[in-house]
Symmetry: C2
Subunit: 342 residues, 2 copies
Amino acid sequence: MPSKSKKPTIDDVARAAGVSKTTISRYLSGQFDSIAEPTREQIKKAIEALNYRPNRMARGLKRDRSYLIGFVMADIMNPYFTAIMRGAEDICRKHGYNLLVCNTDNDPEQERYYIDLLQAHRIDGLLINTTGYNNEILSELSKDYTSVVLVDRRVPELGFDMIGTDNVQAMEDAMRFLFDLGYERIAYFSEPLGHTSTRLERARKFVEITERHGHPSVNDLYEVDLQVPGQLEQKLEEFLESSKGRFRAIFTGNAVMLLKVTTALQHKGVRVPEDLSIISFDDPEWAQLVVSGITTIAQPTYQIGVQAMELVLKRIEGSKEPAQTIQLPARLIARNSTPKKG
Amino acid sequence: MPSKSKKPTIDDVARAAGVSKTTISRYLSGQFDSIAEPTREQIKKAIEALNYRPNRMARGLKRDRSYLIGFVMADIMNPYFTAIMRGAEDICRKHGYNLLVCNTDNDPEQERYYIDLLQAHRIDGLLINTTGYNNEILSELSKDYTSVVLVDRRVPELGFDMIGTDNVQAMEDAMRFLFDLGYERIAYFSEPLGHTSTRLERARKFVEITERHGHPSVNDLYEVDLQVPGQLEQKLEEFLESSKGRFRAIFTGNAVMLLKVTTALQHKGVRVPEDLSIISFDDPEWAQLVVSGITTIAQPTYQIGVQAMELVLKRIEGSKEPAQTIQLPARLIARNSTPKKG
DNA sequence: TTGTATGCGTTATCAT
DNA sequence: ATGATAACGCATACAA
């Protein structure tokens, strides 16, 4: 048979079952009690025989629902986002929706492009980890009936549901942990703060706590752009020099930074924890293996994904509750990279 | 204004621009030369004023094209698949398509569920890393005009395009590398072979090469189910015992196994590479950090994703070329975990 | 319990 | 260069 074997439609099924398409439609939407037993059987057989799958584009057009949910993240290769995606995907599947995954590389333009595309697909909901530079667009999106949930990064003025880690609490726990251990000098290495709420919250809290303890504060907040070759090495050297002889630690803002710092340290021949201690946000799978265990702050990534999806689904089902901001607690995992002084 | 601000349609634009919807449609599909300059301007303005986005469900219904591409993988949290996804996504975006990401956990039933759902969305193409238990379904899918490209795992009887790593060559390179170094005993640790072509190819080749060299062969092929607690530790112990005193190495089938093995070894107090050498398929970011560098076989994951997407797009555009199987070369990265004998 | 008719937002055919 | 109209596959209001 030549290639023109198009997919069967509801009309084909109706014909095969000897009833009208309305009845088929009823069957498809589960209104079994208003269908006679024998016809129900007929329909079932016809559907199986034809291997019929209702066309979601047609259904979506009619019902104004796509059963598509957008997932827009900065970097889908980053295990942090991947874990969130995994959680979101699990819930999504359970509810018969599909995930449209988009990668922005933290580029506002790419983000805009994708929001447009997703709008064209008439997504029912959107999970987004926004660059923070497309607020007006996001705001309009929500006016058009699309439920938006902010993931990881917050944008208060948008009034959307938001879910992420409790960064302030996490930072406080971590700093207290370090001070209790006797650290005299702590540097915080972050990617450029920009408009990224996560980075901003952590950095600000770091400065605040560090000042409260009479430490050099701002001077030990290092913003490094990992795209610029040599920048990390230079700032690292800067800190190592200025903190020579002190009981010191480097605190990295995420697993990417941790990997880079650890690698650079290894090249420099700096020993962890003998010469320098390390602690980091995120808990990559390899944290326990490197330098006999790196102390980390594990974020509930999977849970964030799960709850974000649950939130958006609730909105899609019509919930009109006021927007909520959920901050899940992080968990500090002490390992050998942060010993006690002495 | 209350919530009923539905999205503008092509009719709204037509009205606003003072022309018929046909003309708008022409404009949208880029047939500018058959539209007068002034009307073109009108239309442009109207579209911007209304913030109009053509509805892809409607367009899809009419043109029988969804601009959606399915991406069905065993584990979207595994960096191996993530890297592939990243490559696929990059190409996808360039062509105005969207990725529908699905996670199967290697479960045939979940795979079936998703194939169904994707069919309902009338995906134009599918990238799949199949469990190998749904061949008939996949076969029918392709009859219905859906282009399928196999990623990573092959299923010859399906006659689909396939792209992955050249496992045979990679295994040969790695084994020669080890033999040249003087290894007397090599164990291969794989996840359960099942129907997974990748695992089968590597394991078979391992046995073949090992026999050719007069080694114990099959006995040193370990299939371990990581879900079963203690199984890895037990088989590890088995090998360590039986190979005591020999110049030996463990070869792991992927990064997941490598992580587990390395962790277990660390707990056992086995030193790498003093007591035992290690080499692994995949090149996770942390490979260079652990035990002063683990020798790996890096697969061209990003490239696989790129080419897989390019293949599927070519099919969507109508290519009728015979199905091709592309095997990209892997790259052995020698590090300190595999020293020379003596 | 079942069927008829209309419309969802597009594109395509055929006119003008 | 532009427009009227008929599909695309489904859901729904209204009839019977």
